[in-house]
């Protein structure tokens, strides 16, 4: 059966995903149960003083908070399995809807940042690796090390100061100009607001990919097969084009998909600085205002997102590398 390995692979990945989500669910539930957040107080907010203890008791009963720990856990897991993530207190909307809206906004930013950092990182890494030791290599490395060691929020603030405050070429916050209805926002206004956050996020991602690509290319350039290519009269850029690119593409792709998790983490900080209404910004709000259902939803979603990124990286190996794809199989 030709399909068998793929089916088995997908099956094992799905099983692992299920186990991962279960573990995430258990940990989140236990941690939040032990946390000092009082769900009733978080729900009622400042009006807590106006509510009698009897009324609080009633809410607790209605929410099942008077039940023992295991019963609550069981109840919650049951709802989770039916796809019910609860209702967000901050947005007063089902958590699923909040996640969908917010992720849509974040996705555009993540996609732009992911593409820019991938392509620029690869190009810079190749230039720096091929010209190892030259001033170009040194300049690129200096840039990469500096960025790799700068905190994301600081870079975001710096860009905000330069481009939005001093040069006034980009908007200072949000996803749309103030006072404009969501329906009336043009695509250009939208991209204009997206530009700086996406740029910040990609600048952070570039450093990592550049340094990895550089290292891998240097390894390739010191290999026996590159020595032989030189003996055949191949020049530096011919070697990079015919042998280097082919051999660094695989690790670069893996890294690119694995970097999704870092981008996702970075987006929390970047969205906060630019007040961009994405998933990252929602995370901060949910945490600050003790919105337990939304927080749990986001934790779940990010686990899923990162897992998918890593799985695509895993899958790309057997597809791209003939040594894995064909194995020892001699039939072409």
């Amino acid at each position: 059966m030709r399909l068998n390995p793929i089916v088995r692979f997908a099956g094992s990945k799905l099983l692992r995903l299920g186990l991962l989500l279960l573990a995430v669910a258990l940990f989140t539930f236990v941690l939040l149960s032990l946390s000092p957040i009082d769900p009733i107080q978080a729900y009622v907010g400042a009006d807590m003083m106006l509510i009698s203890p009897e009324q609080q008791e009633l809410i607790a009963q209605r929410w099942g908070l008077d039940q023992p720990f295991l019963a609550r856990l069981w109840d919650w897991l049951g709802q989770l399995l039916q796809g019910n993530l609860g209702i967000s207190m901050v947005f007063n909307q089902p958590v699923i809807e909040v996640l969908a809206n917010r992720f849509q906004a974040s996705l555009q930013m993540l996609a732009i940042a992911w593409l820019i950092s991938g392509i620029l990182g690869l190009l810079l890494g190749i230039a720096s690796g091929a010209l190892e030791g030259s001033w170009i290599d040194r300049a690129i490395r200096l840039y990469a090390y500096t960025l790799a060691s700068s905190p994301t929020f600081w870079v975001a603030l710096l860009l905000l100061i330069v481009f939005s405050v001093s040069l006034k070429v980009t908007p200072i916050c949000c996803a749309a100009p103030p006072g404009v209805l969501t329906e009336d926002v043009t695509i250009w206004q939208h991209l204009h607001h997206l530009l700086l956050p996406a740029l910040t996020l990609s600048i952070i991602g570039i450093a990592n990919i550049t340094l990895h690509t550089r290292q891998k290319l240097i390894e390739v350039l010191h290999s026996d097969y590159v020595l032989f290519a030189q003996a055949q009269g191949e020049r530096l850029w011919g070697i990079v084009r015919h042998h280097g690119f082919r051999n660094i593409l695989l690790p670069a792709l893996t890294l690119q998909f694995a970097s999704l998790s870092e981008l996702f983490g970075g987006s929390v900080l970047v969205e906060q600085v630019f007040a961009y209404p994405g998933l990252g910004e929602a995370t901060v709000q949910a945490a600050l205002r003790s919105d337990v259902p939304l927080l749990v939803g986001i934790v779940f979603f990010s686990a899923l997102f990162v897992y998918i990124g890593n799985t695509i990286a895993d899958l790309s190996y057997p597809i791209i590398d003939p040594r894995i794809r064909l194995g020892g199989n001699l039939e072409p």
């Binding site: 097969y225 030189q230 003996a231 055949q232 082919r246 590398d321 003939p322 040594r323 020892g328």
Partner: protein, 307 residues
């Protein structure tokens, strides 16, 4: 066609901070190769055989420096000329399949070599096809990756990379180790055929028996220098000139099977006089005073004052 005289290579290394040390890996090496002949370069590992190949192709590491005269077709072989000639006039047949790009189909790799020789892509495809056919490699071999080749197939593909060039000089670096005797014989035959076609072939090996099967002349390297250049028949007729070559010959299983005690000198601390003096049965005080020059005796060359 190729003439090397008094080639010396020094490596500069830094150890423990900034202490510089010089390694004299090749000292006063001489060799000449004519068109249409196979010259075998024989020596144990560390005698500088592969470095000679790398020098001729201009692919020495950057911390290496060399002195001496290299003449190829009458012109000095400078680094610039090396870079222009390598792959075109001088070709390498590498040691193993590890010298092929692991992610490129072998047919494509051989084609690329032909294209680097100025052949058009279409002609390169035809040339590759013809060469593979000549070496009994099935058409689908072209679509294989290096890891899918058997030892014998790999050897034939590696020879093909030299055959598709117009190279006048082919350097085969250790083409035989770890192979089945039949494959060894086949690989050697292919090299002999290259010489019959009028090319000069340098066969670098540590296996004297393999070298004797196809070589016209044999150059014996010891500690980075040429100790003797003898015709192939000098070995069987017992007309060897240098004590190291004689010891090497005696150490073969089919002869006396007597190993020579001791090791090659460390390239950091070469002896003042003859490089072989500390292991030589004929050693006299003159040997340890000065390095002997290469002398011509009986149509061969030897670096020994007692020969």
């Amino acid at each position: 066609m190729l003439s090397i005289s008094n080639l010396s290579i020094t490596f500069t290394q830094y150890n423990q901070g900034l202490r510089r040390k010089h390694l004299h890996v090749i000292t006063d090496l001489s060799l000449d190769v004519q068109a249409g002949e196979v010259v075998a370069v024989v020596g144990s590992s560390g005698s500088g055989k592969s470095l000679l190949a790398h020098t001729l192709l201009g692919i020495l590491p950057t911390n290496a420096e060399y002195t001496g005269t290299l003449l190829f077709q009458g012109q000095p072989l400078t680094q610039k000329r090396c870079e222009r000639l390598r792959g075109r006039a001088i070709a390498l047949v590498p040691q193993s399949v590890a010298y092929l790009d692991p992610l490129m189909k072998v047919g494509h790799q051989v084609q690329r070599v032909a294209q680097l020789n100025g052949v058009s892509p279409a002609a390169a495809r035809t040339l590759t096809h013809q060469t593979f056919q000549r070496y009994d490699l099935a058409t689908n071999t072209q679509r294989r990756y290096p890891f899918q080749l058997s030892g014998g197939m790999a050897r034939r593909v590696l020879v093909s990379t030299a055959v598709v060039t117009q190279a006048d000089l082919v350097i085969a670096d250790e083409p035989t180790p770890g192979l089945h005797p039949d494959v060894v014989r086949e690989a050697l035959t292919h090299l002999r055929e290259l010489a019959e076609a009028g090319r000069g072939v340098i066969l670098i090996t540590h296996d004297i028996e393999a070298a004797l099967q196809i070589a016209d002349r044999i150059a014996v390297f010891y500690a980075g220098t040429t100790v003797e250049i003898a015709a192939a028949q000098d070995f069987s007729t017992g007309r060897l000139r240098h004590p190291y070559t004689q010891a090497l010959w005696r150490s073969l299983p089919k002869n006396d099977f007597i190993p020579l005690p001791g090791n090659q000198p460390n390239p950091e601390q070469l002896p003042e006089g003859c490089l072989f003096s500390d292991r030589c049965p004929w050693v006299t005080p003159e040997c340890t005073a000065n390095r002997p020059a290469l002398r011509q005796i009986n149509n061969g060359w030897v670096r020994c004052i007692h020969a």
